[in-house]
């Protein structure tokens, strides 16, 4: 503000000698700026073209592959399926997306703080012919009821994929958490046999009409 003392006198006095900086007397100064600079100012000079070359193209391909690969890894945490507005009968038998609390890979729990551990709930080892599938479920007791339903949905998808993981877990968990097994009492076999239909064949008709008619996908039975 000090330089504004000379109101109207000359162009505007500065505190320092303007000639030293190079503004000669009578030179036109750019007009004062009254608004923030534009968001997309026009480019005065175009950017140079990107360099090409085998090396850079390879890295480009690598980058895109990595991106795609990471989306499919278990480390990519997808948010749980949003709850439907009303509960439908078919929900019980549909294979749902992975529930929030399950971890699809097994970290080395020894290296992690104990509080991060998501407990594996083991079913009571049933009769030998029952497939020993385990669901990775949280320990919270409040979710016991919900868990049963979710466990059923989870079982179908986990059963095939995770047999090897769970057999590992079986051995560890049986030693450590024998007492927890008593909490889980339902017999998984019973639920499985409740329907004679193969789950993957079930189509509740919701997708009907959603596909465009030009779509020539193979028919889903």
């Amino acid at each position: 503000m000090a330089g504004r003392g000379g109101r109207g006198r000359g162009r505007g006095q500065m505190t320092f000698n303007v000639e030293a900086v190079g503004i000669a007397k009578g030179d036109a100064l750019p007009p004062p700026t009254l608004q923030p600079s534009p968001l997309f100012p026009p480019l005065e000079s175009r950017p140079a073209p990107l360099p090409g070359g085998e090396e850079l193209e390879y890295m480009l391909a690598l980058k895109q592959e990595l991106r795609g690969a990471m989306k499919n890894l278990p480390y990519f945490v997808k948010p749980g399926a949003p709850r439907r507005d009303i509960e439908r009968y078919s929900d019980k038998y549909q294979v749902s997306s992975p529930i929030d609390s399950a971890i699809d890979w097994s970290p080395d729990w020894r290296r992690l703080p104990r509080e991060l551990r998501i407990r594996v709930r083991r079913l009571r080892p049933g009769p030998p012919h029952a497939p020993p599938a385990a669901a990775l479920l949280p320990k919270c007791k409040q979710r016991l009821a919900l868990d049963k339903e979710e466990a059923i949905k989870k079982l179908e998808s986990l059963e095939k994929k995770e047999e090897e993981v769970t057999s590992e877990e079986e051995e560890k968990e049986e030693e450590e958490e024998g007492k927890e097994e008593e909490e889980e009492e339902y017999d998984e076999e019973e639920h499985e046999e409740e329907t004679d239909y193969i789950m993957s064949y079930f189509d509740n008709g919701e997708d009907f009409g959603a596909d465009s008619d030009d779509n020539m996908d193979e028919a889903v039975y």
């Binding site: 030293a20 005065e44 480009l60 690969a69 480390y75 509080e115 996908d217």
Partner: protein, 542 residues
């Protein structure tokens, strides 16, 4: 952490790990070290989601935890490490140039999974390589193991800190969190494993059959019955070592540009000799005698000792002072000084347009004459207005204009030198000067911003065309399945025509744009590397 860095981190986390992990990661970066409770409260996510995300982040070395004295655990995000995700392709490509496909896949698996045991890596890489080989051939575990050992010997992969051997009595409960330790000398020690086997090819026929088959096989192998021999010994990629490699590469090519091929070879030799004696963050190397250098030159290079000495003298006399002569014993001791200053300066002062600087940087934004003024100021340190015009040979009006533009963007600054004690403006020198450190920081900040913008733009482009992309994927899937079942050309043609010509054009455009943006991201990351290393090297002056 600047806003630009936080924004970039959050975009990278979201792209590679999903929104839940992104939310938690960003929260930790913004607020610092936090216990689990706080994270759950402040992010509003469920406890299990937070746990899951933290496990993922810790697995990938993006978050570390610490057991506090009062018995609870606090988590801290490593912002710099998150930014490295941008550089993964460069690490993988470097591994490929040094150790071929095997090395490339080893580094890729380690980067994708964060940490792995050696046996797990070897198995996976062998399987992947077997997939790509011709029918009937398989990749032997021994080959993969030997490449792994070489990577460990040259320090490109290192061991993760270990859980300490717990010699606790059963009454003492284990601590809520292990404190991981690693011994310097153990960091690259490869466990003695006897990995025998070959890669397994995955049959492309019935997927279900394959799963069952695999499951049975695993049971038979008994791998699950007992832990692998190197259980608990995890490996990770040693990012600093890769950075050292990039730096050396950059220096060698800068020398080659500035002088000639032979001098760059000499410099490469010097750097190679210093690899083991100098830590990656040291600003200069130990002195090397010219005799040693002569002995270590690559076998194919026949230059006489005198010629070598001449070259060394030339390097030492270079005005940029990146090689210093420090004594005459052994034919003259030479040190490589100020790596990053040299690298940064050489990028600023190369007369060739530095086109890989993003377009916020000097020559492209303001024109090559501004770059000339900038270089001049770098050389001469301080100059008056008049002197700038004279030395740069630019007419006064334009020189003024450029100087003010650069001043307003903070590329140059004014230094006042008073002639009289009262600092009267009319009797003060005003000198233009360049503060390279602050310019570097400012450019770096712009780089972060530009990468974040690039990523956002790419995501926007992809989202706009989502419907079309999905349609084209479906068509491709149909085509593939029809070809597998042996359809006629006419039918295939019909299906191809489901995508109309303008749609095809649109897809082409999209692909081209996405490629361009991805390539730009890689380019900007190169600049980020140079600038970050430079700034870091100035911070570490002894």
């Amino acid at each position: 952490m600047t806003q630009a860095e936080i924004k970039l981190c959050s975009l990278l986390l979201q792209e590679h790990f999903g929104e839940i992990v992104e939310k938690i990661g960003t929260y930790l970066i913004r607020t610092g070290t936090q216990p689990l409770r706080m994270i759950v409260n402040d992010t509003g996510l469920s406890l299990d989601q937070v746990k899951k995300a933290l496990c993922v982040l810790i697995q990938h070395n993006l978050v570390t935890y610490q057991l506090q004295k009062r018995g609870f655990v606090e988590y801290e995000a490593q912002c710099k490490r998150v930014l490295r995700i941008l550089r993964y392709p460069r690490y993988i490509y470097t591994a490929k140039t040094l150790y071929n496909d095997t090395g490339e896949l080893i580094v890729e698996e380690l980067l994708l999974n964060g940490k792995m045991t050696m046996s797990a890596v070897v198995r996976k890489v062998a399987d992947r390589l077997t997939e790509t080989m011709e029918d009937g051939k398989t990749m032997d575990y021994a080959d993969v193991s030997s490449t792994f050992v070489r990577l460990a010997d040259t320090h490109f992969v290192q061991r993760c800190p270990l859980v300490p051997e717990a010699a606790e009595t059963p009454e003492v409960p284990p601590p809520p969190a292990p404190t991981l330790v690693i011994n310097e000398k153990d960091m690259y020690a490869v466990p003695k494993l006897n990995l025998v086997g070959k890669g397994k090819r995955r049959r492309s026929c019935d997927e279900d059959e394959n799963h069952e088959h695999k499951a049975k096989k695993h049971k038979k192998d008994g791998e699950d019955a007992e832990p692998p021999p190197d259980d608990g010994i995890y490996w990770q990629v040693n990012i600093d070592r890769f950075h050292q490699h990039f730096r050396d590469q950059g220096i060698v090519s800068a020398v080659a540009n500035r002088m000639d091929q032979t001098s760059s070879e000499i410099v490469r030799t010097m750097l190679r000799m210093s690899e083991v004696t100098t830590s990656s963050s040291a600003p200069y190397t130990q002195p090397l005698s010219s005799n040693e250098i002569f002995r270590s030159l690559p076998a194919g290079y026949n230059i006489v000792k005198q010629v070598l000495d001449q070259y060394l003298t030339l390097l030492a006399d270079d005005p940029l002072e990146f090689v210093g002569k420090s004594g005459d014993s052994g034919g003259g001791m030479y040190t490589f000084e100020d790596f990053m200053g040299f690298l940064a300066l050489s990028h600023f002062s190369l007369p060739i347009p530095i086109h890989w600087f993003n377009y916020f940087s000097l020559p492209l934004r303001f024109g090559s004459r501004c770059a000339r003024i900038f270089r001049l100021l770098l050389r001469k340190k301080h100059l008056e207005q008049k002197q700038v015009e004279d030395f740069a040979m630019i007419p006064a009006k334009e020189a003024k204009d450029m100087l003010y533009k650069m001043l307003s963007e903070n590329f140059v600054s004014l230094q006042e030198i008073p002639k009289t004690p009262d600092h009267a403006p009319s009797r003060t020198f005003y000198l233009y000067t360049v503060n390279i450190l602050s310019s570097a920081r400012m450019l770096l900040h712009r780089c972060y911003k530009s990468v974040a913008n690039l990523i956002e733009r790419r995501q926007y482009e992809t989202k706009e065309n989502k419907r079309l992309l999905e349609k084209s994927q479906r068509v491709e899937a149909i085509l593939a399945s029809m070809q597998a079942t042996g359809a006629e050309d006419v039918q295939l043609q019909e299906i191809e025509e489901m995508i109309t010509a303008p749609e095809r054009q649109q897809l082409e455009n999209l692909k081209r744009n996405v490629n361009k943006i991805d390539a730009s991201e890689n380019q900007v990351d190169e600049t980020i590397f140079v600038l970050e290393s430079f700034i870091e090297s100035t911070l570490k002056k002894p």
